[in-house]
């Protein structure tokens, strides 16, 4: 795992932020589609190791109905095992009022809601129209804000949709504005099927700026389905985005399956950010060791190129 420290030359990219906050989604988004249920103790240890590697935001779990996501049915048991970790924000997903109650009851300080930019995905994922889903989230967000919680709004299908094709920018901007207006502190722009390219990313960010959505409220969430995630991230950084979602070891969605989600691997992201002289606070060696350990728990190798390269060194 050693021997590569200092190998990439650090050359700061012009106009890029000095620091990026990585929103680590491995324990939630990365694990939620795993078929065999990961033991709660392993999940807790995963979160502890991610925090120990320097990640400051680790999305811990989801308070959705256990029937929807069996893998995360242990949220009530898991969250208290990690909630006292120092120096790390532990957002949790809440789909509705009942989920918020459970999160509040366990002392969560940060929650996330999950909206869609397209009607087809809102229907498929939430069995609602886009506006019905927003109406469902609004009281949840309001109440979370009243309790002093930070609220993140995830927005799926911001670039392409498997049923509708390319998603018009104005359609994404409209939902973003609604989420900001209802009180979301941060929006995570998701390329759920991984089709975006850097010009499209730049165009959406420009459009959002023009519509008065401040860039410091924006995060990007790219998938590597077509290998575009890191190039798209670079485009987002060049437009002032300072929060990037990624998943340790690239967990989440099998790159071999048709339904590949292929989260951007945190290690590949950290390699680029550190090479660009952008601080993350992450110790890449410890993070890679964590992903190697987690890959052993899951019984298959990490799809992250950086994890593979670093873990095959002597």
């Amino acid at each position: 795992m050693t021997g590569t420290e200092g190998l990439p030359m650090t050359v700061h990219g012009r106009g890029l932020p000095d620091r990026v906050r990585i929103h680590e989604v491995g324990p939630r988004d990365g694990l939620q589609n795993e078929k065999s249920v990961v033991p709660t103790e392993i999940k807790a240890e995963f979160i502890r190791r991610l925090a120990a590697s320097g990640l400051t935001t680790v999305e811990a779990t989801s308070f959705v109905h256990p029937k929807w996501v069996p893998q995360l049915a242990d949220a009530e048991k898991l969250f208290p095992m990690v909630s006292s970790l120092a120096g790390v924000r532990l957002p949790v997903l809440v789909p509705n009022d009942r989920g918020l109650d459970r999160a509040l009851g366990l002392g969560a300080r940060e929650v996330a809601v999950f909206a869609s930019a397209t009607e087809s995905f809102a229907k498929a994922n939430l069995n609602r129209t886009v506006d019905e889903a927003l109406a469902m989230f609004e009281p949840v967000v309001t109440r979370a804000v009243e309790h002093g919680l930070r609220v993140r709004g995830y927005l799926s299908m911001c670039f392409g949709d498997p049923w509708e094709g390319p998603v018009p920018l104005a359609q994404v901007v409209r939902v973003c504005r609604r989420l900001v207006d209802m009180g979301c502190d941060e929006l995570s722009l998701g390329d759920t099927i991984g089709v975006a390219t850097p010009g499209h990313v730049a165009a959406l960010l420009t459009e959002l700026g023009g519509a008065g959505v401040p860039v410091d409220r924006l995060a990007v969430h790219f998938h590597d389905t077509y290998g575009q995630a890191l190039a798209n991230t670079l485009a987002a950084l060049q437009h002032g985005v300072g929060v990037v979602d990624s998943s340790a070891g690239g967990l989440g969605g099998c790159p071999y399956a048709k339904s590949a989600t292929g989260n951007l691997a945190t290690e590949d992201l950290v390699w680029m950010l550190h090479g660009l002289g952008i601080e993350t606070g992450v110790d890449l060696g410890r993070l890679t060791a964590t992903s190697v350990w987690m890959a052993e728990q899951l019984g298959r190798p990490s799809p992250s190129r950086t994890v593979r390269a670093l873990s095959h060194k002597e």
Copy 2:
């Protein structure tokens, strides 16, 4: 293979070229490290299919001594099988005078020489110092130019070197100038171990411009060892580079092995370029089908994310 046409929204990136020429290296760089020798007829068919998919430059083979690269020992048999293909440039690698003689004898119109930016790699790869290697190439380049051939100069280890670490920009610039001065039409800047990040790429291109090496003579050759190839390509395009090397299906270097070279996959590159509204002339469906076919010949799946995503669709 169908059903994705039109999925990515095309949004032209500001300041990017309208057209990029892809220098396809699959048949040479992609195959040279394959352990089991690929039949010559399969190689010829691979080149024919690559050309039929719209690639206009396909590096066909190498006239090195068969002892060095047994996989390409059939160069003399292979080249005449494809040399009459219309509309496609077929450069071949020549290491020395004898290699050039063989290439000229078969009617090659374009050759490439292989230099190193670092002493360690020059020693390891060519058993010479950097300057001794340049001195060896100079008469080859001169004679090729006299015969009216186009000459490409490959430059390895332009960013990092496994023995020396980060490579000083001035060291790369010096060798580039020498290659241009001796008559190379095009330089391919190689990130042989895949460690570069976009700021480093931008800095080297800026330095080369300042030293009078015209950007229209430059190509970039990135490896995906750490997942950085496409982000680095974007940085190069933003600096005016219009020729990009890649390998169909990501052939060349196993991503699982320590010695992974991990060529940028042509399909991942084409996805980005087309999304950016940059013309390549490539039919992505035909190219992906070619890589799927080649993966069947080699008996293992392509590491290209785009090939995997497109070939798993109905």
